[in-house]
């Protein structure tokens, strides 16, 4: 069979295989090399990444030995627990005690920054908070209009300049307006940027400095939006964005698809940045606080199509 044929044939079955494999894997009694190899595959298929995967499996081997684990359920529980050691077990809430609380939202192109801002704004206004949005994406065509629509939907106000304006200036005005109007939360949108573009990262550093100058101690939250569909590059994104503007949390979007976004485990492991929210759709309510336990569960279950 041709290579194409072989791959296509194989993939047809992949989904089922993974599901059956999980069941099969954890009903067998001996933990041989195949067992660990397949476990590795499940983690890699969830985009956990090789380095983290190998480390997890290594630790699991130790645990099985040390604690003399025999039952498959015990082994699965041990693996989940190892992942939770990295992710933390409890949801990490946003820090909202400042008035105004300034939240900066960052990420590469198209990950869901603007949508996440709309969803967060709706959450806050539903709690009776006064919310202001700053249209810091002055680059992409119609980005300001997009945020305006989310401002309407979420019943919040918006501070905007023209397309092409200096993003720092817009956000500076946002901070000033938030203080003057007695807003509870200011959510700042930023243009999508690839982390390997030095000039755009420098622009971000400036935004960060300007916010701090406008309101000492701000921004109080710096959220990096990561797309669950993205593979290993998310880790590079987190590293570089974290250097430009110290991150306080990750929002993992598009979990309503079939991708698992397992790279957040590597992000938590290497950078100690917690996931705070997950995006599960395009609707205004499709944002949930991140629940590590439920998330780890989801890595080991396959969604029905």
């Amino acid at each position: 069979m041709s290579l194409f044929g072989r791959i296509k044939e194989g993939l047809k079955k992949t989904r089922n295989i993974i599901m059956n494999r999980m069941e099969e894997l954890f009903t067998r009694q001996n933990f041989d090399e195949d067992f660990f190899a397949e476990l590795e595959e499940i983690l890699i298929a969830a985009d956990v990444g090789i380095e983290t995967t190998l480390e997890l499996v290594e630790k699991l081997r130790d645990k099985i030995r040390e604690e003399k684990l025999k039952a498959p359920e015990q082994v699965l529980a041990a693996l989940k627990s190892l992942i939770l050691d990295i992710l933390g077990r409890d949801p990490v809430p946003l820090q909202l005690e400042h008035k105004p609380t300034v939240i900066l939202v960052l990420g590469v192109n198209g990950v869901g920054k603007t949508t996440t801002i709309g969803k967060l704004a709706a959450r806050f206004t539903a709690e009776g908070k006064k919310v202001l949005l700053a249209a810091g994406d002055t680059f992409r065509a119609a980005a300001i209009e997009q945020l305006e629509i989310w401002a309407q939907r979420s019943h919040s106000d918006i501070i905007k300049h023209q397309q092409g304006a200096d993003p720092s200036a817009v956000i500076f005005d946002g901070v000033a307006a938030a203080a003057a109007r007695g807003a509870d939360v200011l959510l700042c949108d930023t243009a999508g940027r690839l982390h390997n573009k030095a000039n755009l990262m420098a622009e971000l550093k400036k935004v960060y400095r300007v916010v701090d100058k406008a309101l000492p101690g701000a921004p109080h939250e710096v959220l990096l939006v990561l797309d669950a569909t993205t593979g290993q590059n998310s880790l590079a994104q987190a590293k570089v964005f974290n250097e430009a503007a110290p991150l306080t949390g990750v929002v993992l979007t598009k979990l309503d698809g079939t991708a698992k976004g397992g790279i957040v485990i590597a992000v938590a492991r290497q950078l100690k940045i917690p996931v705070k929210f997950v995006g599960v759709g395009e609707g205004i309510d499709d944002l949930q606080p991140f629940d590590p336990v439920a998330y780890v569960e989801s890595i080991f279950t396959t969604k029905e199509q």
């Binding site: 090789i50 198209g110 065509a141 982390h195 593979g231 598009k254 790279i263």
Partner: protein, 446 residues
């Protein structure tokens, strides 16, 4: 660190292969394990990786490799060939309609870059003297229509829109208008959607039926992870995909998704997006992508560069010296200086096949340019005699050299140690490569 540098990791493995006369199955397995890890780290789907490695192994275990003179090179060649084959062997063009307009639908996940790609494609066609009509059929995402209008204005190209109406009707009406206005291309921007969203996938199917497009291009973010196969497969199952556009390749992702998507759809990758501006758009070159995923492009570039820079005659002399182990610190200095002419040292050393392995052992020299300056200064502070016969450098000479070069005695010690180590490795290499040294003597560290 485990995977700090894929490229050097791979090259390290290949160096190991290169060092031996004949390949055993175990050697091939070792090498292919590294290939496997490299591909996984590059986000190629694990299943695709498995099949790919199996194919390469079959070929590697054939006699051509076992009997070839340089087995390591043969493996590199096979891996690269198979990868290029899988990526598609030539540049794939758009298929025009027999009778205009040519209709092209762009589909894909949310945030993959469809709207920007429509504008880029339009710009590309405009430059080739076509007159495309852009169609705003993303009626869901806030301000998506406006985004396309702004882009159309920038390009001075017409944009067809009917607000938030049924996308299939919009597209149909657009084609009518194109016929009337003699637009020879119709580019339909569809809303981003998840491959598991039945309702929205149905909408695309209806659009395909209504328009009978010549091309349906799946727009895929180059950073996509393991799920790329599921996505591509789902779109392929519902629609008559004709090609792929790979976006955001200006990032630093290795782009393994390209391989995954290609493998499951069998569709050629037709274009790549390389930036946010409308002219950051190119045809897809399969061989370049293969090198990028594997991390071997650098090696090829290096070979070209090195051949241009290194003086043939000097190289011959050096080759002889190396073989007879008369390679001195003086030669070493000269080599470093030649290397420096070739570009940033760090990058260069990483590019050198085999340096992945040696680099680790010669750690001090691999670190950075500053380190290089130090080495240069130290050697320059030595007498001629010392350079030719380092064994005479006792501790008082070391102190003098350190003082003269503004370094620490420790630095001098390190350099001498590394130099000795290098000479020893060369001796080994020379032994292993007896008779086959020619042609590669150009690279001082190989």
């Amino acid at each position: 660190m485990l995977f700090e540098n894929l490229s050097s990791k791979l090259q390290e493995t290949f160096r190991r292969l290169r060092g031996k006369g004949k390949l055993t199955e175990k050697d091939v397995n070792t090498a292919l394990r590294e290939v496997r890890l490299a591909l996984l780290e590059a986000d190629v789907n694990f299943k695709v990786v498995k099949d790919f490695v199996a194919t390469v192994k079959e070929r590697c275990l054939g006699s051509e490799v076992l009997e070839s003179l340089t087995p390591g090179q043969m493996v590199i060649k096979i891996v690269n060939e198979e990868l290029t084959k899988l990526m598609g062997e030539s540049v794939a063009k758009l298929k025009p309609a027999d009778k205009p307009p040519t209709i092209i639908m762009l589909v894909g996940l949310q945030g993959s870059g469809k709207t920007t790609t429509v504008a880029k494609l339009a710009n590309h066609l405009k430059k080739a003297n076509h007159s495309p009509l852009l169609v705003a059929a993303d009626v869901y995402r806030p301000a998506a229509i406006k985004q396309l209008q702004v882009l159309g204005e920038q390009l001075k190209l017409p944009v067809f829109q009917m607000g938030q109406q049924n996308p299939v009707q919009i597209a149909r009406a657009a084609v009518e208008q194109a016929k009337k206005n003699h637009n020879d291309y119709v580019l339909v921007d569809t809303a981003g959607r998840l491959h598991v969203d039945e309702e929205l996938m149905d909408e695309l199917v209806q659009m395909e039926e209504a328009l009978q497009p010549q091309e349906i291009l799946l727009v895929v973010d180059a950073m996509t992870g393991q799920d790329a196969v599921t996505v591509a497969e789902s779109f392929k199952n519902r629609l008559g995909l004709t090609g792929i556009v790979l976006t955001k390749l200006d990032g630093d992702t290795r782009g393994g998704a390209a391989l995954s998507v290609r493998a499951v759809t069998g569709c050629p990758i037709k274009f790549v997006g390389l930036g946010e501006k409308t002219d950051a758009f190119e045809p897809f070159y399969p061989d370049r992508m293969a090198s990028r995923i594997l991390g071997m492009g650098d090696v090829l570039t290096l070979i070209e560069k090195a051949q241009a820079t290194f003086d043939e005659k000097k190289a011959k002399e050096l080759e002889k010296k190396m073989r007879t182990q008369q390679f001195t610190l003086e030669d070493f200095l000269e080599q470093l200086q030649q290397l420096k002419q070739m570009g940033p040292l760090q990058q260069l050393l990483e590019m050198l096949p085999g340096m992945g392995g040696m680099g680790k052992k010669l750690k001090g020299m691999q670190v950075d340019e500053k380190e290089f300056v130090k080495v240069e200064a130290i050697i320059q502070s030595m007498t001629k005699e010392e350079r030719h016969n380092p064994s005479i450098i006792n501790s008082s000479r070391r102190r003098r050299i350190a003082a003269g070069s503004g370094t620490k005695v420790q630095d001098v010690n390190n350099l001498l140690k590394q130099f000795n180590l290098m000479n020893k490795m060369m001796k080994q290499l020379t032994k292993m490569e007896k008779g086959r040294f020619k042609g590669r003597g150009r690279f001082p560290f190989m």
